[in-house]
Each structure stands twice: as structure tokens, then as C-alpha cells.
Subunit: 327 residues, 2 copies
């Protein structure tokens, strides 16, 4: 099934079930008020949402309305946890090589993962509001999963069983603030402003064959100012799958329902697939021997991130944002 | 007023108002179900909680009961954001000196702050459950504030006006996992297991003269296996106050209601005040020219963290935890 959160002026919005074709939706208000409430009691709530989903897909839901992604908050407008990995190690290696820094071999064996802010997630069509272009505004197109409760010390298989939903992320990054924060060793704080999510999150079964080996095997399309700049296969070159990423997170602690785990920038070794963040393009330019010519985003720039299934239909709806100056 | 959260089997518990002397409490169920709900609508809810607090302190609340810190969850059992600073730069300098690493001068001018996990906070008397002593289990006694909504770009003064509550934290750390995570630059993840909180959070006005200059001017007492090992003044040697810390967090993003901001390990330059984490003690031993002799915590060890007011009364109740092996 497909789930989304309607913007209603409240902090957590209202949970709705969305039809497979993203054309209609219905509030789940008789079942669970919010997505967090559904995740908190998934075994009891999910079957009821599935029933509503079946009715909606059959055109027999009683109170359905046209689905409008512009009215969507992030599926979880605020979450109790957001961690983001760098599972496409190719990307990490390229960026490091461009900086002339060798990448430790351990990066192929143990995931890189940072803890991000989860208090103020952006909806799919919310503006990216920032004070200064000089911070080096970049998008990062990623896949993410939302989990149920995962116990400390869980194996990857145990972790995989707790993947409730899959969605897309724009992990907005401020490139020019990153070097100083990396040097401090304390991770990203100011360099990672609010993160945006696709309008819809879907259960793994909804993805069919495309969800296997704890990876999502579809191309992730990034369109910057109307030009398609990347369509890497998210199922390729992902060195750590979501089961391994969640198990890494849970080595020393529990992860509670509503934890959001990102893949990191999707990146293929084949450069013809394009890029999912500008930093990677600039790294390729640098490695080719020149100064990077592709500049970071400007106020007014747009970014669209979307994933199409084999039939060419949008799976999650599109992230479609504009960079705006803080007013 | 003083607020706490009763463990009732739910994920967020039930909000209660606690008497100033920590002897009685009353559920706030007619006012707000949870502390997060109160923070979400503070201007409307807080005056009603204040009225109940006045009745309770006067012994005239209708449904009061004995307050039992063992029945407390963390004031916010899960939060949308937890960030922790290292505002007592003396501590950072000592730890670095012991490692033979010079501290950048910028650490005196710009706060160090990391994003932590906020999905699974521990109550004041919950066990600290971990798989291996070899990870180097340490406590970190800290002061923390809980905020309302703070806008991106807020000044320290604007940030200060959004400090809703003050409390104590045990930022449990796994010292032997930290060096590898610091080297990656992505911040702490596995090295910071679940964080514990004092049973009670209090409004700044409740602290009187002890809350000034956005710092809490009282000694923070850490008692390890029954021996008092530290009582530094939290108001001294705090290089960045809470207003500056929140403003630092909000440079590139909003912080939403329920954000928890920690001070970092409280540490005074005067070594006679003792220590608020074992790593600092070990650093002092190393600097004195020897191998560190104080070992990290063992299964069965206890840690008590408390703050007394000038009359010797506990302000927040005590964090009182035992280290247990994961079963």
C-alpha cells in the first residue's frame, strides 16, 4: 500500500492511504490519525490500512478525493530518528579522490552513517529556504526506509523484517560548510539543513520484484532546472543494503518505530548514469584535471527527484522543490 | 513548575506536574496528555499546568499521589531532536591533551555540537543495558534544556526566550568506539547508546537566581558506586551558554518544539571539583605522566547524577542507573 500525510495545520498532519496510481486518496482517520501512530502499533493498524487500500485501488472507497502532492507533508513530518548512510561507496571514493584524500579501505567493510535532524522534515513540494547561496547548496537524491522497533544487536535479517515503508529523500547539503564540520569530527550539523521526502511512502510488497536483497532496484531520476542530470540504478553499487545499515545502527542501541534510514547519495560506477548530487559531478570534473565548472544551486533553482517503475509510472510521486532566500 | 512523565506502558507516557519538594505529583490528563503535546502548544497549555502546580505546591490538588522517580520515563521519552554540545571547553582540551592532539583555537569561538539519537531515551532509574564492557562504558553528567520552536537564524536572545525546561542528562558514552567514529568524521553513532534523563524537568523561573546568563549556576554531583567523584559548578567555565548553543544549531535550520540541547560534560578548570565523566579523570592521569589507572564502568556499577539547590534540596530528582549486560 501507499501512505502519505495531509497538511492540515497540525505538526504531524493526517494519515491518508493513496491509490497505487497516485490519483486518489482517502483519510485514514477512522484507523490511525498519523503515520507515527500507525507505526507505533503496526501489527494492529496495517491490516486495516491494507483493507482501505484495496477498496481505494478498486475505486470503491467511500470518501476518496483527488490526491494532490502539493498538500503533502513529509510522510513523517517529524520523526524520532533520522540516520543517513553513505552506502554507495563509489560516491565517497570519488569525492575523496577529488579532494586528494585517500579513502580508508574500511569504508568498503563498515558503513558510514551520520545522525541527522528529524524535527522539521520538508514535504515534497516545500521550498528549500536558506540564507546564503555561498553555503554551497546541493541536493542529494536517496532512497530511505522507515522502520518499526528494532532491538539492540539485531541481525541484518531481523532488521529487514522491521522495514515498514520505503520512500525517497532529498538530503539537502551545504557543501561549503562541510569541510569545517568534518574536521571537527562531530558530524554534520549546520551543513545539513532540513531534509525533504517524497509525497508517498510505500510498503515493500508494493514494490514487487524491485524490492529484493534489501535494496530497491529501480533508477532514481534527478532533474535539475528541467534537465535530467542523473538516473543511476539504486539497486547497483549499493555496498551495504538496508538490512546491514539498520543492523549497524542497532549495534549498541535499540531503534524505535519511526526511525528513518537513508541510503546516502545514489551513485553508480558507470558515469553515463549521471549524478544524484552536484558534489559528485564537481568531483568528476576535478579528477578529469580541471577546476570544477558546475556550480552549486542558486536561489530560484529547482530540483525534481522521482523513481519510475518498469511501466514508467511514478512510484512515490516526485520531490519537486525550489531554492528560496530566507525572507 | 516541575514536570515529569509517568510510565504507563505507552511510548510517550503521561504528563504529570510534580511538587517543588518532589514529594507529590498529579496527572495533567485534563490539560495535556504528554509533555510533547504541552510543548507543541505551550502558550495555551503552560498557564494551565502552572495553575495545577500552584494547587499541588499548596497541598490542594485534588488527585495527587506520592511521586516515585522509579515510575518516571524520561520527561520526553522520545523527542524529535537531541543535540549535545561540548560547551565546557576545558574538558575538550584535557581529553585532547591526554591524546597528544592539539585543540584548534576555534574551539573557544564556535561550539562543538553533535546530533544524537532521540528515539529511545531512558528514564532516570532505567538500567544502562549494553553487550560488552570492552566498549569502555562511561557516564557523562550534563545539564540540558528543552526548547519551543526556534526559527532559522535566531539570535541568542531569541533562542533564550524559547527555553521551556531545564533538566539533567547522563549522556552514556562508549569510549573505545569513539576514536574510530571520530576519524570517519561523520560523528557519533554506535559510540553513543541511549541517553538518560533526570525524572523531572523544570521551568527556568523555578530555578530563581540559579538560572542566569542562560546558564545553570549550581553544582552537578556525580556519585559512582557510592563515591562522590565530581561536583563542578555548572555555571562556571561554560564557554557557550544555552542561548548561544541553540543559536548555533539554528544557523541553517529551524528547531522545532521538543528539541533537547545538552551542555556537554560539565567540567571546571579547578581539578578539586572532580569529574563528570571517567574519560576526564583518565585524561588527568595521563597528563600527570602515568598510564590511566581509573578504569571504565563494569556491569553492576552504579552512577547517580543530581543537582542540589542552595538549601540542599534536589532540584530535578536523581539519575540513578546500573550497568547491566544485554540478556
Amino acid at each position: 500500500m501507499k501512505l502519505a500525510t495531509l497538511r492540515d495545520g497540525s505538526r504531524d498532519g493526517q494519515l491518508m492511504v493513496v491509490a497505487r496510481d497516485l490519483k486518489t486518496a482517502q483519510l485514514a482517520d477512522g484507523i490511525a490519525p498519523t503515520l507515527q501512530a500507525a507505526l507505533d502499533d503496526w501489527a494492529f493498524i496495517a491490516p486495516q490500512l491494507e483493507d482501505l487500500s484495496s477498496l481505494l485501488n478498486a475505486g470503491r472507497a467511500g470518501r476518496s478525493f483527488d490526491f494532490d502532492p502539493a498538500q503533502c507533508m513529509a510522510p513523517l513530518p517529524r520523526a524520532c530518528q533520522w540516520v543517513d548512510a553513505s552506502a554507495y561507496v563509489n560516491h565517497v571514493e570519488l569525492v575523496r579522490r577529488a579532494r586528494g584524500v585517500e579513502m580508508p579501505a574500511s569504508f568498503w567493510e563498515e558503513p558510514l552513517m551520520y545522525q541527522g535532524g528529524s524535527d522539521d522534515f520538508l514535504g515534497a513540494m516545500d521550498d528549500i529556504v536558506l540564507a546564503h547561496e555561498e553555503w554551497g547548496i546541493d541536493f542529494e537524491a536517496e532512497v530511505a526506509v522507515i522502520t518499526g522497533d528494532v532491538r539492540m544487536g539485531a541481525t541484518p535479517d531481523q532488521a529487514l523484517a522491521q522495514v515498514r515503508l520505503v520512500t525517497l529523500v532529498n538530503d539537502v547539503s551545504l557543501r561549503n560548510l562541510i569541510p569545517a564540520e568534518l574536521a571537527k569530527g562531530f558530524g554534520f550539523l549546520q551543513s545539513k539543513p532540513a531534509t525533504a521526502f517524497a509525497p508517498v511512502a510505500v510498503t515493500p510488497d508494493e514494490l514487487g520484484e524491485a524490492w529484493r536483497q534489501a535494496k530497491l532496484h529501480l533508477p532514481l531520476r534527478s532533474t535539475w532546472n528541467g534537465a535530467l542530470v542523473g538516473q543511476p540504478q539504486a539497486g547497483e553499487d549499493m555496498v551495504f543494503n538496508f538490512a546491514q545499515l539498520i543492523a549497524h545502527l542497532c549495534k549498541t542501541r535499540n531503534a524505535r518505530a519511526g526511525t528513518v534510514v537513508g541510503s546516502g547519495t545514489v551513485s553508480n560506477k558507470d558515469p553515463k548514469r549521471g549524478y544524484s548530487c552536484i558534489a559528485e559531478k564537481r568531483s568528476l570534473e576535478t579528477i578529469a584535471g580541471a577546476e570544477p565548472v558546475t556550480e552549486f544551486m542558486r536561489f530560484g533553482d529547482t530540483i525534481r527527484i522521482e523513481m519510475l517503475d518498469k511501466a514508467g509510472k511514478s512510484v512515490f510521486g516526485a520531490i519537486e522543490q525550489t531554492i528560496k532566500r530566507l525572507g
